[in-house]
């Protein structure tokens, strides 16, 4: 992988900030930067093909529909899903998980049912379940994490004895960077008849995900973290589950027939895509997976793993700095850390003065920070366009932070 060539695909990385500093972007877990090709794909659509999708009997409408549906099949293929009618376009991962809770959950969960999730979840895989639990009197149990920040699989096995109806977990933690053994977790859940919901917001962008092989019942991810535009994400659901679920929003496109007495629903995926969808964004998302595939997900993952090992080694000799989470072999390209006596906001603010963008706070994982007895942490997150130079800059920046507070 030629990183300097990849950097050239991202115009924003040429930008100079704060009086001529090179931008060192280490916040890709929040949102990734966008290569020229996805912006061009969306531009071309608006300049050449713009029309609403489905049902239009004119050339532009046919072109728009064809491009929109082509994006769906590209994305299905990218995440190892053979039947692309199981790929529903949503706004983002958060909306995808909320759809499951509000349609499947409301229909199939009843008082006393148990939902398992984990201590390392993003709020988007906790709050929808709390809302539903309140409404339906459900009980939520959290699979613990070990001291090194991996999922405690023994604790998981013991919680399975409660016969949960749902096991909802993240494929990769947005704070610890931990990659969870999804296949094994799903297999155990299926043995006791639970359905599985995987938050793939951090996994789909960074390593090869094969949803059919994982046998996940639901899998959610967002375009904007994987070189695509904001405003579009995916909910994968197994066909039989999607067909049994009531629709989410009602309106155009999701119906087969409407009379003065009622309506019948369209087939999947359209049943869950009410109203005019984010057409240009879907096309941009298609271009994003083309871009990632052209580089190769195995290559991207290997690059990030090498970089994360380098970074962990380099940062480990900064006095007072403690990295949260497991050793490099168990994680993707995320490094969260704390420095003794220096608040993460101050760390991030001073790094910003040197052109280095990191994130500080709880990263939408307050329960995890509570578990770790931390008010907040600083997070550096990597992607295909980051190089060793970026990590060297981070280290230099952190040493300056320490100096300010000396």
């Amino acid at each position: 992988m030629n990183i300097s060539k990849i950097k050239e695909d991202f115009p924003i990385l040429e930008r100079k900030i704060h009086n001529g500093m090179r931008l060192v972007y280490l916040d890709s877990a929040a949102t990734s930067q966008k290569p020229r090709s996805i912006v061009q794909a969306m531009d071309n659509f608006y300049n050449q093909n713009n029309a609403n999708v489905h049902r239009g009997i004119h050339l532009l409408a046919e072109e728009a529909t064809q491009k929109y549906e082509l994006a769906r099949s590209k994305i299905a293929n990218f995440v190892g899903v053979r039947d692309s009618s199981q790929i529903i376009f949503t706004r983002n991962t958060t909306e995808s998980i909320n759809i499951i809770a509000r349609t499947w959950g409301r229909k199939f969960l009843d008082e006393g049912d148990v939902i398992l999730t984990t201590e390392m979840e993003h709020h988007s895989n906790i709050v929808p379940w709390f809302s539903l639990a309140e409404e339906r009197n459900l009980s939520i149990k959290f699979i613990q994490i070990t001291n090194e920040g991996k999922l405690d699989l023994k604790h998981y096995q013991s919680l399975l004895k409660l016969n949960p109806k749902v096991v909802a977990f993240t494929h990769m933690s947005n704070v610890l960077g931990t990659i969870n053994p999804a296949k094994q977790i799903i297999e155990s859940a299926h043995k006791i008849g639970a359905i599985t919901i995987v938050d793939g917001a951090q996994s789909a962008p960074h390593f090869l995900v094969r949803i059919d092989d994982l046998d996940a019942d639901f899998y959610a991810f967002s375009a904007h973290k994987m070189c695509g535009p904001t405003g579009i994400g995916v909910l994968f659901g197994k066909k039989d589950l999607l067909e049994k679920m009531p629709p989410f929003l009602g309106g155009g496109d999701m119906i087969r027939k409407v009379t003065f007495n009622g309506f019948s629903t369209n087939s999947i995926p359209y049943k869950f895509e009410a109203g005019t969808p984010a057409i240009a964004q879907a096309i941009g998302f298609g271009a994003a997976v083309d871009y990632l595939s052209s580089i190769g997900m195995e290559n991207i993952f290997a690059h990030e793993q090498a970089l994360v090992s380098y970074a962990m080694e380099l940062l480990s000799d900064i006095p007072g700095l403690k990295i949260i989470g497991p050793s490099a072999e168990y994680r993707g390209g995320i490094i969260s850390f704390v420095i003794d006596q220096i608040h993460p906001h101050d760390v991030a603010q001073i790094l910003d003065e040197f052109g280095i963008a990191v994130r500080a706070g709880h990263h939408c994982a307050m329960p995890l920070h509570e578990k770790l007895h931390l008010a907040a942490s600083t997070r550096a997150s990597l992607y295909l366009y980051n190089s060793r130079d970026d990590i060297d800059e981070l280290k230099k920046g952190l040493l300056r932070v320490c100096k300010v507070f000396e």
């Binding site: 993460p344 906001h345 101050d346 603010q349 001073i350 907040a376 507070f405």
Partner: protein
């Protein structure tokens, strides 16, 4: 950076003069800024004329929020409770002597928000008062 992390701010962060608890307090309030994970408690003791005799804060936060709290409490000794009700955002910024982005403004204003809630004897802190 030299501006934002001026010596005075680092100084008040590392060696705050008003950190701790009072043995007895007449006004007290505690609040947090959940976005940053910062928590701050302020206690005041007043004389028979409702003038501040002593003030302490406790909790944790970033350099901006802690130094703002320390500078604020230092500035209110001897002032009346009615004076404290008149304090404004500008007073904090003058004490710090820096300009802040909207996100960091929240850090700087946490102590003022807590102080106002204490003197108005509110149950909940109110952003409007700052």
């Amino acid at each position: 950076m030299d501006d934002l992390y001026r010596e005075i701010i680092i100084d008040h962060y590392k060696n705050p003069q008003h950190k701790g608890k009072l043995d007895e307090s007449d006004f007290s309030f505690e609040d947090e800024n959940p976005l940053c994970g910062d928590r701050l408690q302020i206690e005041l003791r007043v004389d028979e004329n409702q003038n501040v005799l002593d003030a302490k804060f406790d909790g944790h936060g970033c350099a901006i929020s802690i130094s703002a709290a320390d500078l604020l409490l230092d500035s209110i000794i001897g002032k009346s409770i009615e004076d404290l009700k008149k304090l404004q955002k500008k007073d904090i910024l003058d004490l710090l002597g820096i300009e802040l982005s909207p996100v960091r403004l929240k850090c700087a204003l946490l102590s003022l928000k807590v102080l106002k809630a204490a003197v108005y004897e509110l149950q909940e802190a109110n952003d409007d008062l700052t």
